[in-house]
Symmetry: C2
Amino acid sequence: MTPATQAAHYTDLVSMARKSWTLGSIAALVSWDQETYMPEGGAAARAEQSSLIARLAHEEHTHDRRGELIAECEGDAELMQDGTETAACVREMRRDYDLATKLPSDLVAALAKAQSETQEIWKHAREKDDFKSFAPALENVLSLTREKAQCYGVPAGGELYDALLNEYEPGATAKEIEAVFTPLGERLSALIADITANGTPPAIDFLYRSIPTEKQHAFGRTVTAAFGFDYNKGRLDTTTHPFCSGFGAGDTRMTTRYSETNFPDAIGSTMHECGHGLYEQGLPKEGEHCGTPLAEAVSLGIHESQSRMWENMVGRSRAFWSWALPEAKKTFGTVIDDVDLDMMVKGMNTCTPSFIRVESDEPTYNLHVMLRFGIERALMSGDLSVNDLPDAWNARFKELLGLDVPNDAQGCMQDVHWSFGLVGYFPTYTLGNLYAAQFWETINEQIPDLDEQIARGDFASLLAWCRTNIHQHGRRYSASELCMRATGKELSADPLLRHLESRVKPAYGM
Amino acid sequence: MTPATQAAHYTDLVSMARKSWTLGSIAALVSWDQETYMPEGGAAARAEQSSLIARLAHEEHTHDRRGELIAECEGDAELMQDGTETAACVREMRRDYDLATKLPSDLVAALAKAQSETQEIWKHAREKDDFKSFAPALENVLSLTREKAQCYGVPAGGELYDALLNEYEPGATAKEIEAVFTPLGERLSALIADITANGTPPAIDFLYRSIPTEKQHAFGRTVTAAFGFDYNKGRLDTTTHPFCSGFGAGDTRMTTRYSETNFPDAIGSTMHECGHGLYEQGLPKEGEHCGTPLAEAVSLGIHESQSRMWENMVGRSRAFWSWALPEAKKTFGTVIDDVDLDMMVKGMNTCTPSFIRVESDEPTYNLHVMLRFGIERALMSGDLSVNDLPDAWNARFKELLGLDVPNDAQGCMQDVHWSFGLVGYFPTYTLGNLYAAQFWETINEQIPDLDEQIARGDFASLLAWCRTNIHQHGRRYSASELCMRATGKELSADPLLRHLESRVKPAYGM
């Protein structure tokens, strides 16, 4: 694929893609700033800015000329040869174009404006635990989201929810996800029951000692720099809800959050976002692929597999803490001098139902996802109304996690996602865990001394495996193809269950 | 002016203006981020983003429909009634449209890209004092700037430089500025000679004591909050070159810079940018005027009058330090315990030629501006080539300020302006000083106890005067009309000379 020999319809198509990609990167900056540094008074003007840039991007995505060029490329047998980068690129551009042209630009602008406004309302409502002040704005975003799903169109034999899911995890359906989640949930419940009956809970008090946030930030920088995140090409800032956003080659922005009395939460969030950041930095965004699907992440599930792998498979392992605990002691000072490796690893691998998803432990996290999957599916089908959301949440929470939710701030208002109209997004978190565990088994087979490398703070082979098998491909292969190429197997729940058992049981002395 | 009764051509014109204003506010954010938080590796992608957003804004500014609507409004006698807001709004939109349509969009995009790239090159070249690595990029920006001036067109009897000047200070010409600057320069030289011969230099060593930048930042926050800057609607960050950017109602971003061993520099920069910030926060950006010239600053000279007034007329006064010195002592700790009010006020009013414009004292600052005015005028006319710039700078510096420039980092590479193609911009700084001094005399006549108010940290009447006489009018009146309405007189050099003498002579015991 040398640009000089490419047909004009292909190079023109790539130029158009690059322009809309640049608009998208500006939109990402506008949104990042809103979360990090924008003063409170800027919200109204920001909503106008977000709305305008979204409308301009949508106009580009849906330009008639783009449709014509895609059709011309599809008719070019040389470009479309099986297995070539150009064929993959045109295939993915077709997918994006079809998705984008189904949405009228007024709806896109209305959604962007509603997202920006609802997010501000959510911040205040959550602070005050006031669901009623949040409900009308949420109802508005969800109604626009339902409209969006209708525009995408319900697949044959499917439901409204599938139309949204397809945006984040191409090809996935609610029924298929239910079919994996149900047995996963049952086996997880059995594991939790076993641990509760037969295990000895590890000490965890030491995890909540007071550590100044600057020291936690310094430790997070040390760990993520060791993982391989290039800080000449990125940043780490602080927000209410951590996220990672790639603005193009050389500019990847991660955010995290800090609590003085919960350093494992901060370092977990930081390692999680770093997994996303390493994927963004590893995509081939420089040069000829810039702005094309070949420089983009394949799906949210695969993106999440990268964040989960660094957060959990690496970040809760004995090998990792063999290196990281001495580093933490250097940075934190005397406050954790008495903590030994065994305490640390056990403390990082607890299994205790709790209220907040992003603070939950690795096994129960999946139950939080299942809860949201069921709720949002019902909100879309109309089986559940926004006003009944808190009751439905609390009832289902009790069933799945056995706890009484004390208030909506710790219940159905804890996440920002629905304020953004992100419906169909949550299940990708557990898909990410499933992919991560399956990749992890393969990596350990292919790099037999990985534990030794990690124990000396050397993450280069691990990152190289991810670059080679995942990052460099962009959207060339589908998520399931990528999984098959990298691991030789279809996605299965077994590696995740094996991984969780191998980590949790020893922590409970089993 | 009630929107319900307005003609469609006017409301449509305002809608168009609002869209291009929103694009401009996004461009301002993109640029602010580049200066504050963008990682180094993001420069190439950022140049693409800046270029695209500038091209889109230019397309909006130069849209044929806008020209048609302006013409329709100009033909509407009711809208154009003398002295109305609508007439002023249409007049200023015509000015902007005529300026914008003279530039082809390719040139606008090329300039934006060159600015972004040259600015990065300048940063590194200045660090390494390497003018040669900077010269080709500067030559490119200046050549595009010359092209821009040609597109604007040279006014009858004027020169290429006037075409650029008109962008920042509508109606001003190089000859007129020369006619004010020459006597101002002579009288300033006489003042400096008098002080050198007959004055006793005040102690200034104490101004360079080491004070941690966090403490300087806290003091800057205290002072600017007291001035009336609303931090719910703005921020203060750190950059190499301080600036202020208004992103719309409720979002004004100031930046400053800190040196551990030069707190007057930081507080001076902070008060200066705060003057700009107060103007931005005082413009009527909310409601019907949003996005129109009625919500914009009238000229750079007037903008600078606001920054200079708070930095110099307020910030170097005995009244101000009566309040601010105890505040500084509270914040800085014991390091300036021995400094009394007399020392402080004298130290803030020195008059000593030095190398760096933004670190120079209040009187000699104007000589730095005159130097740049002469150099950039010659660069535009072709009398001076970029390669000869360092020599020309150093020679003229010796004439005006009597010093030998030690290197280009402290010489012709000290400012970012030319990297941005900002030619015709520097003279507005001294125009700002002239306007500020003239406003200041009137304010003190109209608020006889202003010194007492300031001495107790009360800046409310002063800010209210600025809001009423300057800020609220946007571009309704020209700079000279605004000056006449506010002070009853045409702009003159006398108030500035009187002000400087009244401050500097007592500091030198004269």
